[in-house]
């Protein structure tokens, strides 16, 4: 476990040399948050197709659960309205709970599955739910890593876009 975490940290540090592969949103089901399961050719040599699809499908199912409309979500909505939304000072929304589950899942997947393959999966919530991005870090001793033309130099931590607003 310690070595896995260490690997992950190493990966993050060398993220500046990484190639990025972006999985875009799939809007065929409407406005709900789903990502395309089409396998990107850049990951061909890195990861099995089935594993990739399974990951994306699991993420999609998590998001579907977060946005599910049913009795429990109505109840939460009505309760929130009745308490003038003060209840959210005390408890998290269902959506936020699922988002936490998703980030735990992604962390786990990174440690167990992706780091050994030199990949790093970023949480879509950090990218404004636009993309799921895979960071393909070149292996140190791997002679056939990504060609230099594909490398995009960029700062390791991208600040989230901000709106300068004096309000909450």
């Amino acid at each position: 476990m310690a070595t896995e975490v260490h690997n992950l940290q190493e990966l993050r540090r060398s993220a500046s040399l990484a190639t990025k592969v972006f999985i875009q949103r799939d809007y065929s089901d409407g406005t709900i948050c789903q990502f395309q399961t089409k396998f990107p050719p850049e990951l061909d040599s890195r990861i099995e197709r089935q594993l990739f699809e399974e990951t994306v499908k699991t993420l999609n199912s998590f998001y579907a659960e977060a946005e599910k409309i049913g009795g429990s979500s109505y109840l939460e909505g009505c309760l929130a309205c009745a308490t003038a939304y003060f209840i959210f000072l005390c408890m998290e929304t269902h959506y936020e709970k699922v988002l936490k589950k998703i980030s735990r899942y992604i962390q786990e997947q990174n440690e167990k599955v992706f780091a050994p393959r030199g990949l790093l999966l970023t949480d879509p919530v950090e990218r404004g739910m636009r993309v799921v991005s895979f960071l393909a870090v070149p292996f140190e001793v791997d002679p056939d890593s990504e060609p230099p033309s594909q490398r995009l130099p960029e700062p390791r931590c991208e600040p989230r876009p901000t709106l300068h607003c004096p309000c909450i």
Partner: protein, 431 residues
């Protein structure tokens, strides 16, 4: 980044009326009829204010701008899809088609945010952001109304309509009761504010109740104001045209809009603003001589005007002296960086159409001008980015311009100075 939003309006009629009624009618009515009247009025008032503030200060569902890597990746994909190489002639405005529930929906590319907008999202030119499930930008509330704050907006207008009806009814009651005691004219003399209140409430009732009714219709059919105005899902467009987002029955539509899950905000509103990361410069071979530098690309329209003037004056004053390459590049470089919009935001007052004419004219008129490869950014920095800008019109001249420019490079320095001064004049004339 998005512009600073200032909350600049409230529904003042409701407020004023309520305050007046508190001062004048309530003591009378509380005694005459029941003290519950001011209590209910007070509750309604606080509810209205609460929902107003909530609508005003919550994130409507802003979509953060794409990171440079994502934008580059999308561009690459588009280029591959269109079968063209990067640079040179630009393909027409980008759209993607998606089939949702049997209806074909076009997803437009937002040049400001550098994303393909999700369905039902729209770019608000006032807030300068793409907003999910964009309804409209409400000036009364000083914020966009979108996915995350639509229910608060609806509750605001609904409660405000109840409040206005409530106040109107009790102002009339007040006047009637007083006139029963002392006669109509005396009643009006005793409480002159009631007249004003009645008039204001009367007009408010019509507008606010009308608006509530309209939004009730929109909620029950799961449409946004934007879609309704454009008639996206109306039957007039065709028999097969229906709303793919509707859940079929009114009850479900209402429940989803009002009690559905609220997604958390995707933006970091308390963070410090980071300067926009500069786009990687993409000069082609012909551009090297003109060497566009970082500092020049940060120039504003006004700076450019000043530079152009300076350049023309210098060219006129010293016709035999060689021009420095830096001057030439100063004059020629069109504002292309995304970061340019931010420092200039304060300069563009009102709708950004006036500045948009400038780069267009400059591009078309100055045919010998070099259009740097950043031309894909030129138009949409200033244009209202709701619709795709018109790069094709600008770029129709660009292959021609490029060849002419190469020719210019070969001329003697005096000729180039003359050309540059002409360019400067043309640029000035277009400002």
């Amino acid at each position: 980044m998005g512009k600073l939003r200032i909350c600049d309006g409230t529904r003042w009629e409701g407020l004023v009326c309520d305050l007046i009624s508190k001062e004048i009618c309530c003591p009378y009515l509380a005694v005459k009829i029941t003290p519950a009247i001011p209590v209910v009025g007070g509750i309604l008032f606080f509810f209205v204010m609460g929902t107003l503030l909530r609508t005003s200060f919550s994130d409507p569902g802003v979509l953060p701008r794409a990171t440079p890597d994502e934008a580059a990746d999308l561009e690459r994909q588009i280029d591959i899809a269109n079968g063209t190489s990067s640079g040179g002639y630009r393909p027409p405005p980008r759209t993607k088609e998606v089939i949702i529930n049997g209806q074909t929906v076009k997803l437009k590319y937002c040049f400001t945010c550098k994303i393909f907008r999700p369905p039902r999202a729209s770019h608000c030119s006032l807030c300068d952001n793409c907003v999910e499930r964009f309804d409209h930008h409400c000036p009364w509330v000083g914020n966009c109304v979108g996915k995350r704050n639509y229910r608060f907006f609806y509750m605001f207008i609904l409660s405000l309509s109840f409040l206005t009806v409530f106040i109107f009814a009790f102002v009339i009651t007040h006047v009637i009761l007083r006139s029963q005691q002392a006669g109509f004219l005396n009643a009006l003399k005793d409480s002159p504010a009631s007249v004003l209140e009645a008039v204001v409430c009367f007009f408010s009732v019509w507008s606010i109740v009308g608006l509530s009714g309209f939004h009730t219709y929109l909620i029950s059919s799961n449409q946004t104001t934007n879609e309704d105005i454009k008639g996206s899902w109306s039957n007039k467009r065709g028999k097969e045209n229906y709303n793919p987002y509707s859940y079929g029955n009114i009850f479900t539509n209402c429940c989803v809009a009002l009690c559905g899950p609220i997604s958390p905000s995707l933006i970091d509103r308390r963070g410090y603003i980071q300067p926009d990361t500069p786009q990687p410069a993409a000069p082609s071979n012909g551009m090297a001589a003109y060497g566009a530098t970082q500092s020049q690309s940060d120039m504003c329209d006004q700076d450019q005007c000043i530079q152009s003037t300076k350049f023309v004056l210098q060219a006129a004053a010293t016709p035999l002296l060689q021009s420095e390459p830096s001057l030439t590049s100063d004059e020629l470089h069109l504002p292309g960086k995304p970061g340019l919009g931010t420092p200039c935001a304060s300069l563009t007052l009102g709708p950004p159409t006036p500045p948009s004419s400038m780069p267009n004219l400059a591009a078309e008129a100055a045919l010998t001008d070099i259009l740097p490869l950043k031309d894909e950014h030129v138009g949409h920095q200033f244009l209202t980015p709701d619709e795709a800008p018109s790069p094709p019109t600008m770029l129709a001249g660009s292959p021609l311009a490029h060849s002419r420019t190469m020719h210019v490079l070969g001329l003697a320095s005096q000729d180039s100075l003359h050309e540059d001064s002409v360019r400067g004049l043309v640029k000035l004339s277009s400002v």
